[in-house]
């Protein structure tokens, strides 16, 4: 079977020693994105379990599958969860959600939980769009800007290039940094033109890594422009799948002159974590 270069690993995780039966509040957040779906379960505000799976053609099915996957190796069942918040592109299609919140509010809250109260600027580079969010010490949104009109800073854009260059998506970042000299960025990050431009470069004899570097540079530049419009304040963090792409992150940091706090968790779960926390707040208020 031919290798599908755009495919990244799906997985789940659960905390080894949390006794959910004694818990006061159990909540969950489900982030149904255009590319991936995450489900996060929290017990009294602590991470209990989560899963990260590819989004299929049906949002409700994707939501259920992610949830089932998160709970798989635990003995917690869905009906024991007190409150569920759905978020993401497919948020209105999470059949077992009690409420929906936008991924902007959820990424803000999630970044605050995962990185700490000192975070003020969150950059979420997701599957289909890219968002810059300014937050306060409580993880509430103060301002935001979105780019969902083009592929710059999105997973879709990277997948197209990964496929074209026959490079596994998880390796794109590292490979793009292994260049002798940083090339000029491609002139267009528009996925439609980038593909033909990348092909053109290959034909001219460019090595794969250099094409990756040129594309990453152009992407980082577009994302930097978005951040400059909203104003970057320290601490600056990145959520979403592309935070794992060191090629883009490094170039972004260089252009902005600021270093992003590095995560020690999977950045793709930030939205669902935020949703689970917001679910807790809503349950508390009832």
């Amino acid at each position: 079977m031919p290798q599908e270069f755009w495919r990244w690993k799906e997985y789940n995780w659960h905390a080894p020693d949390i006794a959910w039966r004694n818990a006061k509040i159990i909540t969950a957040g489900v982030d149904v994105g255009s590319v991936s779906t995450q489900a996060v379960v929290m017990v009294d505000g602590k991470l209990f379990a989560y899963a990260n799976r590819r989004t299929g053609s049906s949002s409700p099915d994707s939501a259920r599958r992610a949830m089932d996957c998160a709970l798989e190796e635990t003995d917690l069942a869905l009906d024991k969860i007190h409150y569920v918040v759905g978020t993401g592109y497919g948020r209105v299609n999470v059949p077992f959600a009690h409420k929906t919140m936008t991924e902007i509010a959820c990424h803000a809250r999630g970044a605050n939980f995962l990185y700490g109260a000192s975070v003020r600027t969150v950059l979420d580079m997701g599957g289909q769009d890219c968002k810059a969010i300014k937050i306060d010490a409580q993880g509430k949104v103060v301002n935001f800007l979105m780019n969902d009109k083009c592929a710059a800073g999105t997973g879709r854009g990277l997948e197209v290039i990964a496929d074209l260059l026959q490079v596994p998506i998880e390796e794109m970042g590292e490979l793009s940094l292994r260049v002798e000299k940083e090339p000029e960025p491609v002139s267009s990050t528009c996925v439609v033109f980038a593909k033909s431009e990348a092909l053109g470069l290959l034909r001219k004899g460019w090595k794969k890594n250099d094409v990756l570097a040129a594309y990453s540079r152009a992407m980082a530049h577009r994302v930097a422009a978005l951040l400059k419009r909203i104003g970057i304040e320290k601490e600056f963090v990145i959520t979403g799948g592309i935070a794992k792409n060191s090629g883009i992150v490094t170039r972004l940091e260089k252009e902005l002159g600021i270093v992003a706090r590095k995560p020690d968790f999977d950045t793709q779960i930030a939205g669902a974590v935020g949703a689970a926390l917001i679910a807790k707040k809503m349950k508390d208020e009832r």
Binding site: M101, T102, A105, V141, V142, M146, D148
Partner: protein, 343 residues
């Protein structure tokens, strides 16, 4: 005989057209993507220009006896001449009003330009525009303005979509038919609820021509407490004086009514007006609703945003093409409203 004359901008003096015996109707962009307009207008012009021209080229405006432009932005300036080329037998005129509204000579100039326009109408259609007819038209349009102001005073009783439909219809129906506004279905109870619980936003932009945003606001339970649209509040802003020379009175209104970014009265007048709208209506935030490639509004955005920032009033910018994309618009508006309710 065709009895309607179309216009694109509300700086066109409707009373004069009405006094000449025609019904002035606003030509608005449709939701159908243009196909013929691309042969005349570049892709970097706004959808208002492209869609309106496209409708004309598709023969959907054949019931108009003429089209009148007002001098506003560079695209409209060029469009007026393009329209003439495409329809050589149509009455196509531009009322070239002053841009420097603060000039002490603007009134005199505009009066002369309006008289020229009157003469052009009289000559082309072989009609007389009498002073009496002008006075009568002014009274009728003032009545409409007052009726719309009343409607606005009660806007809490109406949904955003209802508001949109009323304004949309108003600019294409005879001004005499104002009774609809009073009898439009309203909900007194929801008005009381609305004042208390719902988030209120002020909308700012050029024109709003399709109901996607109003529908989203209704779905999300927010209210439009005020607006600054050409085909919204600015349409009926300020009455025309009913005494004195009617042309002088029409000119005076043009110079004093709420400005759009194509005109200059003072550096801060739009910012002051916006802040007042927010404060008087106790709005929670402002949504800028801009058409892509609309230069004048894009120019005003940074200073207006700065004025709002200084007063810590949250705001959101939506830049739309012909039809606002539902998913993208909704997530932004929803996130904005979430932000407003948390704060």
């Amino acid at each position: 005989m065709k009895n309607k004359i179309g216009y694109l901008c509300t700086y066109v003096p409707e009373e004069i057209i009405h006094a000449a015996g025609f019904l002035p109707v606003r030509i608005a962009p449709s939701t159908t993507p243009p196909t013929r307009a691309d042969a005349h207008l570049q892709s970097y012009t706004c959808c208002l220009a492209r869609s309106c021209l496209d409708q004309a080229l598709a023969g959907r405006l054949n019931d108009l006896a003429g089209v009148v432009f007002a001098h506003t932005c560079d695209t409209m300036q060029g469009l007026a001449d393009i329209w003439r080329e495409s329809f050589p037998n149509l009455f196509v005129e531009t009322v070239v009003g002053p841009v420097a509204l603060n000039s002490p000579h603007a009134q005199k100039y505009l009066v002369a330009e309006l008289r020229r326009f009157v003469a052009a109408l009289e000559q082309h259609f072989d009609v007389r525009v009498t002073e009496d007819a002008l006075r009568a038209s002014i009274r009728i349009y003032n009545t409409r303005r007052r009726a719309l102001a009343d409607f606005y005073a009660r806007r809490a009783e109406f949904s955003a979509v209802q508001w949109f439909n009323v304004m949309n219809k108003a600019l294409t129906t005879p001004p005499e038919a104002i009774s609809d506004r009073r009898s439009a279905t309203s909900n007194q109870q929801s008005a009381i609820e609305n004042q208390k619980s719902k988030i209120g936003v002020v909308l700012v932009g050029a024109t709003i021509d399709e109901p996607t945003l109003p529908q989203i606001l209704d779905d999300l339970g927010a209210r439009i407490v005020a607006d600054d649209f050409c085909n919204g509040a600015r349409y009926f802003d300020t009455l025309v004086a009913e005494e004195g020379d009617p042309i002088e009175a029409i000119a005076a209104r043009e110079l004093t009514r709420a400005t759009c970014p194509c005109k200059h009265r003072a550096l801060d007048d739009r910012a002051e007006r916006l802040l007042k709208l927010v404060k008087d209506n106790r709005a929670d935030g402002v949504i800028f609703y801009h058409k892509k490639f609309c230069d004048p509004h894009a120019w005003d955005y940074p200073p207006l945003a700065a004025a709002l920032d200084r007063e810590k009033i949250p705001h959101l910018l939506l830049e739309v093409e012909q039809v606002a994309p539902v998913g993208q618009t909704r997530v932004r508006v929803e996130a904005f409203l979430e932000m407003l309710s948390e704060g």
